[in-house]
Amino acid sequence: MSPEFWKMGGYALYVWGSFGIAAGIYLWNLIAPRLRRRAILETLLDDE
């Protein structure tokens, strides 16, 4: 990618900031339920 692409016509902070935060939110939505599943299964096994 050219340096021009990363500059986003002078709006780099806003464009990349938006996409960065969005990536974080999407990722959290994929990972958080998985971690919780693991924690729940562990407590269920301990109950027995």
């Binding site: 990618m1 692409f5 986003m8 016509g9 002078g10 709006y11 902070l13 806003y14 464009v15 900031g17 938006s18 996409f19 935060i21 969005a22 939110i25 999407y26 959290w28 939505n29 994929l30 958080a32 339920p33 998985r34 919780r36 599943r37 729940i40 299964l41 562990e42 269920l44 096994l45 109950d47 027995e48």
Partner: protein, 253 residues
Amino acid sequence: MNWTWFHRLGSPPSFYRFAGRLAPWLGGLGLLLLAYGWYAGLVLAPPDYQQKDAFRIIYVHVPAAAVSLSLYVLMALAGAVALIWRMKLAEAVMVATAPVGASFTALALVTGMLWGKPMWGAYWVWDARLTAELVLLFLYCGVIGLNAAFDDARAGARACALLAIVGLVNVPIVHFSVEWWNSLHQGSTILKFGKPAISADMAWPLYAGLLATYCLCGHAILRRAQNELLLRERNTRWVRELATELGGGARVS
């Protein structure tokens, strides 16, 4: 009409298996579409004639805002079903939807601020659209907090359902705010009658991003609903069998 499929799906173990089969497909399709949408939105689409490259924020802002409203409606509907029919699955779906919806409402607000600063000159204005969307975030947080405050999951779900249903009045306010009041926020680009106010090479990445976000939200809600069902049904045989089945291997190793 034959309703047995509906009753079967409504039983927690059946839904658990159904969700387990559907979720990976939604997640995979969502990630593929998102990759295309973001690549096409950032690289292939031309800069806007007025907003230049700053308009590309639309590809994260609009899908987030769209699901923030859709998921609220889903949450309130699930709440209504839970309240009327005392259906455990509906309680699980309602509780599962709240954090997903809240996260995308927050994303819509933050990306809106990052778009507002270069275009309007301010991160935040107390405009009808922005304020109503902020109220939406508070409603989601209210449901999450209320649910966490109850020790008894079923009593908590009834309280959450009431709050979710009352808060439903805010959804049309958010949607129509740009028409009802003099708003700084621009009008709808896609959801209006006639031709969309956007050219095709700018529109396709947006459609892909919208579909991707719905798929990924579906994935997250199914997974979270599965978790809720495990907790709510922890003393039943199917959950015990599942736990030993899944945990047995890890125990031995």
